[in-house]
């Protein structure tokens, strides 16, 4: 290997540049690549009407969140006595926040439930994402006996509502000693038919067979191909599944309600439900401000998670890999 061939560099465009510049160029190219709305042939005003409809719907969706933020600053009396969509004195936000972390009713503490929820969500969400990645890759890129049947079973599982299987689930759990066990919460959270379905579809589109073939020719084993070649290309899909799974476990109310009777194991959903119940029955516990504040603190991590993960949702993962 001694001959040196002069590269035809002169004729080629220099495509280097910092990552930031590249991103900017990609954004501009994307904008240039889209047909401008003026050329859609729509009736005059259609775009404005549609935009107004979208804004109205957005407001409708955001109203409860605005309410919860405003009312987290109020005392119990003000929550019921003042206009719901504006602030009222005294400003009790920090007091409410501090009270949230105290055991107000001998039911258990918010911080404890928060920790439980985080534990279930992280273990369940990460586990579900990992299993969805393996299963989705298997369904998308391997042919094996019964692969279609198994996949239809997964699709079928999408259609079964959790309510329909509560009783059998409870009976199985009782036999398996999973009542009042964190595994009772985590194990079912690991299975995510939606995740498997999404990953199979995503891998089908974003991990080309040629790339896997190339890696096989390059002498890589299947495990190495999965972790070194396929997994990095699956990241945007994985982040979607991770977010859906974490949110799913975070918001799960029904499953913990039937399997936990020990307050210390409750996640936020059930704990807050318990507070809400007590607030209605005992009245003067000053619990409402805590329920409102608890609701706000409960959704905050999900918003933060969404903001962290959204940077992974970008296209163009395959740029430069496969020529058309």
């Amino acid at each position: 290997m001694t001959a040196t061939v002069a590269p035809p560099d002169a004729a080629e465009v220099d495509l280097a540049g910092s990552r930031k510049e590249r991103r900017k160029r990609e954004r501009l190219e994307e904008r240039d690549g889209v047909i401008p709305v003026q050329l859609y042939g729509l009736k005059r005003g259609t775009v404005s009407v549609m935009t107004i409809c979208c804004v109205l719907f957005a407001i409708f969706t955001l109203v409860p969140i605005a309410w919860i933020i405003i009312n987290s600053t109020k005392t119990q009396a003000n929550i019921f006595g003042t206009f719901g969509f504006w602030f009222a004195r005294p400003f009790e936000f920090f007091h409410n926040f501090r009270m949230l972390f105290e055991d107000v009713d001998d039911d258990g503490t918010y911080i404890n439930w928060f920790g439980n929820t985080a534990l279930y969500a992280v273990l369940g969400g990460v586990g579900a994402t990992a299993l969805a990645a393996f299963a989705g890759y298997g369904f998308a890129r391997f042919q094996f006996r019964g692969s279609k049947v198994f996949f239809y079973i997964v699709i079928g599982a999408l259609l079964v509502p959790i309510g329909a299987i509560t009783l059998p689930l409870y009976l199985v759990y009782a036999k398996a000693h999973l009542i009042n066990s964190i595994w009772g919460m985590i194990l079912p959270s690991l299975v995510s038919p939606v995740g498997v379905y999404l990953m199979r579809t995503y891998i089908g589109l974003s991990v080309p067979r040629e790339l896997i073939d190339a890696a096989r020719i390059d002498g890589a084993g299947e495990t190495r191909i999965f972790f070194k070649i396929a997994l990095p290309l699956m990241v945007p899909g994985l982040m979607t599944v991770l977010l859906l799974s974490v949110v799913g476990v975070w918001n799960n109310y029904f499953l913990p309600l039937i399997i936990f009777s020990n307050n210390n194991l409750f996640p936020l959903t059930v704990g807050m439900g318990l507070w809400s119940q007590h607030a209605t029955t005992s009245g003067d516990q000053n619990l409402y401000p805590l329920i409102v504040m608890g609701g706000l603190v409960t959704i905050a991590p999900l918003i933060i998670l969404f903001l962290i993960l959204q940077r992974y949702w970008r296209g163009g993962m395959l740029l430069g890999s496969i020529a058309n």
Binding site: M1, T2, A3, T4, V5, A6, P7, P8, D9, A11, E12, V13, L15, A16, G17, R22, P208, E210, L211, D213, A214, A215, R216, I217, D218, G219, A220, G221, R224, I229, P232, L233, G316, M317, L318, L319, G320, S321, I322, A323, N324
Partner: protein, 384 residues
Amino acid sequence: MAAITLSELTKVYATGVKALDSLDLEVADGEFVVLVGPSGCGKTTALRMVAGLELITSGTVSFGDRVVNGVSPRHRDVAMVFQNYALYPHLSVYQNIGFALENKKVAKAERDRRIRDAASILGLTKLLGREPQQLSGGQRQRVAMGRAIVREPSVFLMDEPLSNLDAKLRVQMRSEVLRIHESVGAATMYVTHDQTEAMTMGDRVAVLQGGLLQQYDTPRSLYDHPANVFVATFIGSPAMNLYEAGLEAAGTLVLGSQRLELPAPAAARVAAFQGRKVLVGIRPEDLTVSASGSALVADVRFVEVLGSEQHVYFSIDATPAGAAAGAVVADESAEAGILLGSAPNGAARLDPRVAVQPGGRITFALDPARLYFFDPDTGQAITG
């Protein structure tokens, strides 16, 4: 011993489609063999079977004297360049080239040396830190080549590696691929549908059609001695003109209303077909406008001036050989003729300085010794 031997290699897909039918092929050590044919002829299937990416229905693939039918691609020690490059998009050029060595657990220093060697052969040294998306098409193509040559393989497979490049770069890369082949010295199988690539690059060329090997020979032999009508019309541009002709006693060829006297050797070759029909082939460059030699009168339909030469499309009153005989007929001249309403049925490659007017009449001179003859029933060449 041949480096690669394909013996009665057959592929039938689950749908029942027979992609490859009993292919026998030998590739010697260091030889550059091109598999060429129209799309769907089975050439890529054959290559993928050699690579181990496709199950073999029957027959064998051997490297040296080792049958590798059941060996997985990762254990075959073949290097392959894919049609669409298949670069790992998240790895740098350096990592892309080094991936195979990493899999083989080659020591780091050795790996580095080989990556840099390959990069310098391909002129990629300055681009080692870049990712594929920061490269141009030609650079990506060279990375794909680098990924293959760094392994110093004994078998080198290329699946239409130049088809995604523009025309100018393709010509440039043709010679580059050959130079790399010479420096690597591995037995190479190269798939293409482009007859120019096949003719210019291959030590030997295998022409495939419908999963069957039509002819396996040097480019020169394919052109001068095509085994059948398919090879005759597939190789060469413009394609060979092919007509049905009658053969009268004493070696007179009847081409429509015109007659050509065959010289004795040619007449002897087709003696067995006397009184019957034969297919006669004329290469476009064998038609000239000089005054000597036998004459063929034709009506000029249209002319393509290419600068260094001109292609004159004409019609004569002879019947062109149809697809039934295996000829490649769907070429641009026929299509253009349909548009004009009067299909030309022949082409001549002439000196650009000869004045030719579309719509006019032209008298071609032709050396009857340079005619090709084929059996109209089998499509096979008549060699006498």
